[in-house]
């Protein structure tokens, strides 16, 4: 069972982790990831580097130097396209398995969106990468330079990583991470300050799934805004349903009190 946790350094990654790495402002991306890459060689993991569409300065992308010989650089024409990125990393994971590697270590630096719809696509891609890590046991590290991001967008992206590390990396209010196909675990607290992030995460998860299952075992609390975000996400597209399991007594009581415990709501809240 995957669990959310904070990592002091990238040395602590484990198979199946999907890490939000908040980089130090002075960090050099690949230099700071060198130990992670080297550990991959030590443990028999193949490095898959997903090159960003452009680098942090907006200049044309460059391929880092000093990668291990068995590394793969995915220099995709559109690294913002979730389907193409996922297809590529899944292909590399299968290849790595055939080649005898223990797993793959995916490394990518996230660059803020500029085109319309890219922010939503980023969330969808993070969820898909999380599902990939959960199902394959791959390690996925997504690097973010906080100075480049507006805080709400970075917070939304961070919520979709079960692990976080880096300089002054705060624990997200909640985290939503994969526990199987179209199954997600939600931990932490969902209140009015992060309800829109929760809504965005759910919408991304429901984009290609008619039914989504959420585990609330480690969700401490959800307020009225959070419950509305949940219902709104389920109603956003027709014929969608969310089945929530493992909610604690207070969450289920609030759900009933809020008037959502009826057949007209496409969300079922179970114990």
């Amino acid at each position: 069972m995957r669990a959310a946790r904070a990592l002091a350094t990238l040395d602590e990654v484990e198979l199946g982790d999907h890490v939000c790495w908040r980089m130090d402002p002075s960090a050099t991306f690949f230099a700071d990831a060198r130990a992670y890459v080297a550990d991959g060689a030590l443990y028999g993991d193949k490095l898959v580097f997903v090159a960003p569409a452009r680098n942090a300065s907006g200049l044309p992308r460059t391929v880092p130097e000093g990668l291990p010989p068995a590394s793969v650089v995915l220099d995709l024409p559109d690294s913002a396209n979730t389907e193409s990125v996922l297809a590529a990393v899944r292909r590399e994971a299968r290849t790595a398995a055939r080649q005898g590697f223990r797993s793959v270590r995916v490394l990518t630096e996230r660059i803020p969106a500029t085109a319309p719809g890219e922010a939503e696509e980023l969330l969808a891609q993070e969820l898909k990468l999380d599902e990939f890590a959960s199902e394959s046991g791959a390690i996925v590290v997504c690097a973010f330079r906080p100075s480049l991001w507006d805080a709400p967008t970075l917070e939304r992206a961070a919520c979709m990583h079960p692990q976080e590390t880096g300089t002054r990396a705060p624990r997200p209010a909640f985290r939503m991470f994969s526990t199987g196909t179209d199954r997600w675990s939600v931990d932490g607290v969902i209140d009015s300050e992060c309800a829109s992030a929760f809504n965005a995460a759910l919408r991304a998860a429901m984009g290609h799934a008619a039914k989504v299952r959420l585990r609330f075992d480690t969700l401490e609390m959800i307020d009225a805004a959070g419950m509305h975000a949940l219902v709104d996400a389920a109603r956003h597209l027709p014929d969608r349903r969310i089945h929530v399991e493992g909610a604690n007594d207070t969450v289920r009581l609030c759900w009933e009190l809020a008037g959502y415990a009826n057949d007209g709501v496409p969300v079922v809240m179970a114990a």
Partner: protein, 320 residues
Amino acid sequence: MTETVPSKAPGGPESPFRHELYPYRGDAQFLSGTLGFIQEALEGGEAVVVAVPSDKTSLLRAELSDEPAVAFVDVTTAGPNPGRLVAAWSAWMKERGEGDRPVRGIGETAWHQARSAAHLSELRYHEWLLNRAFAHSPTWSMLCPYDAADEDQDALRSLSRCHPLIRRDGQYATNEEYLGGNEYAFDVLSAPCDPFQELSFTQGDLAAIRAKVSQCASDAGVSETKLARLAVAVTEIATNSIRHAGGQGTLRTWTQDTTFLCEFRDSGFIADAMAGRSRPDTHQIGGRGLWLAHQLCDLVEIRSTRDQGTTVRLHMDVPR
């Protein structure tokens, strides 16, 4: 000075809802007044919902045998907070109304069992709010028996101000002591007990508020179950301050006797006296915060004016 009004007159000058205070002394008067009220209902084909203390329930049950049009409900199932009673009465009377069938309620509060002055004050305010809650409910009426045996005229006068009609000798009449209009004369909130903890908050502070309240409430002996409920309630009230009252507010917490209190002050104004008193509709977008606070806390006090802003006090009882 009262005057007799026709039997089908509205409860107040503008309202079709009949809300009658019935001061009585002794079981015989209790029975004569309530049975007369029930008899009127049965003759008119109306249903009756009775929510009275258990000893009074026994008295009425003995007289009514198994009259199907009369339903007895246990008011304690609504919980300790009078702020939940409007919704509870709405549900009980809607359930018995079966469409457009007129329903009468008999509700006697066990006033002598009030847990504190604040609880007593909120019980009275609930009685006043009933006039608003059911103002547009022509098919509903309510009789509120009040045991006046203790001859406490101040208490009777306070309660009398909340009822537009008063029943005496089998007749109801306009109650000239009733406080009509839109303003309720609230009791002044007592000062916080020393030592109290204080925290100013703004956007981004909800986690800090919950941490502060959890620590103080835990120290005060609030149970784990109530801590979880209080976390939701304080989140809702603080969110209201942040979203609707200039983005900031002040939290104070303290313990008074066997009650843990959280007080939120902000510059906002709650115009709707009924806010948080009615069960939310599935499709409504907002308006659940105060409702949840009322349902999750043992008592909620709200004072709100345009000039002085809003104060919300959340009470949680602590085991003795």
